[in-house]
Symmetry: C2
């Protein structure tokens, strides 16, 4: 669709109304629309007809009301770091970019909570919080917006101890499909007052409304933090160490698996010299004595499973260097395959089935022309395979999809979920039904129809199956 | 309504169908109906027309389908320990008693999870689990059924560390209003796959469907457990100790406040001789060294706030005795007022506002002919006032409702919720709207209408406002 071309007169008059509301902050420039028409996943760009840069909940409501009147879709956009085509405007419509809603509205240190606008990013929030001795633990890797993380039910490396967005969002301000603004939840830590609308909107991917403000739990920065890298003779040896650690109730903060291929890529990319074996990256939070005890116990468990030497880091800069290596895994894998695009799978299984799931996929890779590194948040049973494919290479693309389908079938057979943290978006619609069954999906669709009867909120996503 | 009398012919033919399905397990005996027509709260009995004792999900679905065809309400019943009239058949209908669905279906020790039928009680589950070294922490006091606890989003004394039913339910089997059976969630620890139906049904109080099976997180029985009772010069001194404990990230398992009046009642009832001051009951879980460190730190914090001597218990029988005293608080208060019935409020506020909320209510009690003990799960900001009123004493009843209304107004003003763990039921309908606002309540009602279009699932509860 060319710049500024709109499908019909009503859309043109809608854009005029949005310009009246927002002035220059309603853009139809091709570059802006293209940039907002895709996320970091592999799904093709689908540019919206216009992009509105909202600065308040009232402005979001104003845009949604005008779109509702014109029967035009609305697609919320945070940092654009989703992976399953969540922001792609596959039915056209108006993108609401929330990145300018970037204010931390309140921090209540005594209650360990805060309230932020949806465009605040997790790194921005943690910078803001540092002086209070508090932090927000959810770390999906990318510097995602808090609104986007809520909408996607994101998690990442700290979830094994601190939970996901499901556990850490306390309340939301949401603009519904009608343009009405509601607030879900309170500042109370728990409640039995009615349906859990907060948890319903968390993970709804913009299909039930636009999240504009988020109340969050915070956590005290621990007195002591230690991190370590340790290698194992096999994935099962590493995973068995993880299982025993979790079973013993050790409150480990991060426990990440990177397979030997991922370590090879990291060493090449980050100029490190870790043993190129299946490896755990660990982090311990607590008091000085508590961390020392955790370290001792996990050291013993790892030793029983044939672990190599622990490479420890306690000073902040050393820990940051270790975790930078971990977080570079995606780009490290891409660097081994110049000119390719990355695609990440997102299986999550009961931890007792994790080694079996990974070994099944490794066996499949032996017979495949594609290769993959494997890494994951193994304390939760969640892991990712990274495929690097050449743009336009249909055979590679088809093989990637075949392997993803095999992975998801395996995952569901083992009692897991097709997506631990990336979401359904447009990319996993068919797996939603396979995972939950017709009845549960029809219940979801009934809820969608009840809250968005004309299917204007991010249509084609989540429950469009 | 007299025994066996049914409002119309269609109900009579429904009972005949239910008898065909269940035989003697469909009862219309007056005593059975009366017993199922009320919970442990103060709301008047409203007996169902019949009580069906189901033994499987399929039987529940069979009952629901027949009720749907006859347009007759369905009311699920677990242990009958709810407090806000949740099970009262205020529009008549068929009660489904789930207490015979009492099988633990699976325990997966490596994954720290299990699956149970809805009628399993929490004590039964913990007895079953003991030999595996695992336990299920949610402890609402009463020996409630797991299905009822899920439906009410229950919590209790361990929630400050282990979370509520919201955090501990992983998956559900639910019979919908149509009689269709769905399963929500998987055995994965986290998921971003579609709307969070599990969390929607948790806390829905039977108004969206009948929960028949529950997948739960479990926890390892800690290596060391210590409990203690310690008194303070004031509620604020006790609460400030709690706030500092939570802020320091001490993973305390239980931290319960009982005010001086509650301690007086407990001493009289349990023949104990605790100082009759505002008191905390504490419990620490962890490794031997970890518990020792927690104990030391909390001891220092309490000392700074003028605490008396700690009364420690580490052996299981001593700890049980301490907690039995805590759990006797409700009956201890009643024993001070022979011939009365108890009514418990259920406010939950941000912890920084807890002392203010309690002091406001204590001031109100000074001017009231009623008195009350105060106790609570203060690590979560949740506390209860216990009122003892004479049945039929309209003035006392009105005063109790006035004080409850003052409490809820105060709670909402302080950013809290009208119910931390008891639920809305039939008793708090008007407060739901006051807490969430019209827009959020209308969203809840739209969801109710989408999943139960003829309003047959526990009508008159939760969102009937």
């Amino acid at each position: 669709m060319p710049d500024d071309a709109l499908p019909n007169e009503s859309r043109e008059s809608l854009i005029a109304e949005l310009r009246e509301l927002l002035g220059e902050r309603c853009s139809t420039a091709a570059a802006v629309r293209e940039q907002h028409g895709r996320d970091e996943g592999w799904h093709p760009t689908a540019a919206p007809d216009a992009v509105c840069f909202a600065e308040s909940t009232e402005e979001v409501a104003g845009v949604v009301r005008r779109c509702a009147a014109a029967a035009v879709p609305v697609i919320p956009f945070g940092a654009g770091t989703s992976l399953e085509g969540h922001v792609n405007a596959i039915h056209g419509g108006v993108c609401i970019d929330l990145s300018r809603m970037d204010r931390v509205l309140e921090v209540n240190a005594a209650d360990l909570d805060c309230r932020v606008q949806a465009g605040v990013t997790r790194k921005q929030l943690n910078t803001y919080l540092r002086d209070c001795g508090l932090f927000f633990p959810i770390d999906p890797g990318a510097d995602a917006s808090i609104g986007g993380m809520a909408a996607t039910r994101a998690s990442g490396t700290n979830a094994v101890r601190y939970g996901t967005m499901r556990e850490n969002v306390m309340s939301l301000t949401v603009v519904l499909a009608s343009g009405e603004v509601i607030r879900t939840g309170t500042r109370a830590r728990k409640s039995s007052a009615g349906y859990d609308l907060t948890r319903l909107f968390v993970g709804s991917e913009g299909t039930l409304g636009v999240i504009t403000e988020i109340g969050l739990k915070l956590h005290g920065i621990p007195e002591a933090i230690s991190s370590a890298v340790v290698d194992f003779p096999s994935v099962s040896a590493a995973v068995d160490t993880v299982i025993e650690t979790i079973q013993m109730g050790i409150p480990i903060a991060r426990i990440e698996l990177l397979d030997a291929y991922a370590m090879e890529a990291i060493n090449a990319y980050s100029k490190t010299d870790y043993p190129q074996r299946d490896t755990l990256f660990l982090e311990f939070h607590g008091t000085e004595r508590g961390v020392a005890e955790q370290v001792e116990t996990v050291g013993e468990l790892a030793g029983e499973h044939g672990a190599g030497d622990f490479c420890w880091a306690t000073r902040e800069e050393d820990r940051s260097r270790q975790w930078a290596a971990r977080h570079s895994a995606y780009h490290a894998a891409l660097a081994q395959h110049p000119g390719t695009r990355g695609m990440s799978t997102d299986a999550c299984v009961p931890i007792s089935r994790l080694a079996e799931c990974i070994e099944t996929m490794r066996a499949a890779l032996l017979d495949s022309p594609l290769d993959s590194t494997i890494l994951g948040h193994v304390g939760d049973g969640n892991f990712h395979m990274l495929f690097c494919t050449e743009p336009g290479n249909a055979a590679q693309h088809a093989e990637m999809l075949r392997l993803n389908e095999l992975l998801i079938d395996t995952t569901l057979r083992l009692g897991g979920t097709c997506t631990g943290e990336h979401g359904i978006g447009a990319g996993k619609l068919k797996y939603l039904r396979r995972e939950h069954g017709d009845g549960a999906v029809e219940a979801m669709r009934a809820i969608k129809a009840a809250l968005d009867p004309r299917n204007l909120m991010n249509p084609g996503k989540t429950v469009a199956c």
